[in-house]
Amino acid sequence: MRKFSLLCLLLIFLAMGLWGCSQNPEPSDLPTEVASTDIETPVVSDEAVSASGEESESSLDTDQQDEPVADTVAVESYCVDCHTDQEMLVDTAAPEVEVESEDQGEG
């Protein structure tokens, strides 16, 4: 009899356990991706900490921008960004080798 009661108690626990599992959210609802997209805490070097507050703040900003922005910049814009920026083109233009024409007369 005692064995039967123990078995019933075990079954009840098992049923409760199964019921509990069935109430869990679907795996797709789990926030598992959050971990992978979490912004990493910027590593601030000792030098940056020891520098002035303004400098360390700016370096922190840069680090914070670099990570997420790199993923969200429109991929097409590298070409357009450069080729619509006159100053950048002036700065990065390869010097043209001037070839002196040896043609004589009208072509």
């Binding site: 080729h83 083109l89 233009a93 390869a94 002196e100 040896e102 043609d103 004589q104 009208e106």
Partner: protein, 403 residues
């Protein structure tokens, strides 16, 4: 036209180009390359002139145009080969191909050379910040290549010679006469219905003055064609003379172009012996149903029998099969010219005609069909009743044969 700075050649006008339909296409779709923040990586595998592969690039959206590209003279440069093959007699083709690659091939123009950039032969560079211009720029596209003759004549760059009336008064640009159908190499659709009576079926044109005139002066000046404009000379001379014979001013001819590769720089170059202004009326060696004229304006083309001697001896053994004074349509048309002032300015005036004394002795044979041996007589001589020569021999009769 001042050359563009290196940065200027590749500066994209973001405000004008990006909202345009072509600005919506990702750059690498046409230009290749890779998306990268640094210049070297981004330009890896870059196609600077994607329309050189017009069918696979422009043809993605404009297949109706690119399908005809192989017929476009701007694309295939067939005009060069028409004369090279004729004068070489089909021999030395491989040697001439080397010459062609060094000197002639740079004239090849693809879609972008007319609609986006200046032609490579004048240094390239975007014209309107990469905006794809429906109509090419007259000065930065058309006359950038066709400048030394057509451009200078049309825009009046020769001293004391006015610009063409179509430019001066009509402000017309090249594309007002030279349609996209012509530029893109579309077949001459008119011929499919309006076949010429003397042939019935018109073969494809084998030179640029073959087939239906396109463009033609008569397309706009129809009243002249039917002699319905009260100008007596149009009635008298229409059909005998090309329009340019009366309405053109002096134009450029060139002599003796020779090509070679520089021993110092290794670059190909050319040298022409002479370039001069003149006005010459010659016989029409290309007389046809569509060009029935007896007389046309002719200009000297720069070829000589030794033009390509750097590449080999006697590469043009059949030099004389084509004239060196060729049918020309100068682009400096005026309503009033010295020719229109008076009948005597042309009649019995050898100065205006390509007489044999104006042709180099070694080129006379090539130009026999063009040289004017008998200048049209004076009006007085024309009005004089013809004289009937006295018979000098006795008339003999044939015996009557009776059965």
């Amino acid at each position: 036209m001042a050359p563009l700075e290196p940065w200027e050649k590749v500066l994209v006008d973001g405000e004008a180009f990006l909202p345009d339909v072509h600005g919506q296409i990702p750059c690498e779709e046409c230009h290749g390359g890779v998306q990268a923040a640094d210049k070297e990586s981004a330009h890896d595998g870059l196609l600077a002139r994607p329309s050189d592969q017009s069918e696979s690039v422009c043809g993605q959206c404009h297949p109706d145009v690119t399908v005809h590209a192989e017929n476009s003279l701007h694309n295939n440069l067939q005009g060069y080969w028409t004369v090279l093959d004729a004068r070489s007699g089909g021999t030395a083709h491989e040697t001439l191909e080397v010459m062609f690659g060094n000197h002639c091939d740079s004239c090849h123009a693809s879609c972008g050379d007319c609609h986006i950039s200046q032609p490579a032969s004048v240094g390239g560079g975007l014209i309107s910040g990469h905006v794809v211009n429906r109509e090419p720029s007259m000065t930065r596209n058309c006359t950038a290549c066709h400048g030394s003759r057509v451009g200078n004549e049309y825009m009046g760059k020769h001293e004391d010679i006015k610009a063409d009336v179509h430019f001066r008064q009509g402000r017309m640009t090249c594309v007002d006469c030279h349609s996209s159908r012509e530029m893109h190499g579309y077949p001459q659709a008119c011929d499919t219905c309006h076949t010429a009576p003397e042939t019935g079926i018109i073969p494809p044109p084998d030179h640029r003055y073959d087939g239906v005139q396109s463009p033609s002066c008569e397309s706009c000046h129809a009243a002249v064609t039917i002699a319905n404009d009260d100008i007596e000379m149009h009635e008298l001379h229409a059909g005998d003379l090309s329009c340019q014979v009366c309405h053109s001013m002096s134009y450029t001819s060139c002599d003796g172009c020779h090509v070679a590769v520089s021993e110092t720089s290794g670059n190909p170059y050319f040298a022409t012996e002479a370039s001069y202004l003149g006005f010459y009326i010659g016989k029409n060696a290309l007389k046809s149903f569509n060009r029935p004229y007896d007389y046309v304006t002719v200009r000297h083309v720069p070829v000589s029998s030794t033009s390509f001697e750097y590449y080999g001896e006697d590469l043009l053994p059949d030099f004389d099969v084509l004239p060196t004074w060729t049918y020309a349509t100068p682009h400096n048309i005026q309503r009033n010219t010295p020719q229109t002032e008076s009948c005597v300015n042309c009649h019995n005036n050898p100065d205006l005609f390509l007489t044999v004394d104006k042709v180099k002795p070694e080129e006379i044979k090539a130009n026999l069909d063009v040289i004017v041996f008998d200048v049209p007589p004076s009006i007085i001589d024309l009005m004089r009743p013809p004289t009937i020569p006295e018979p000098t021999q006795s008339i003999t009769t044939t015996e009557v044969i009776t059965p």
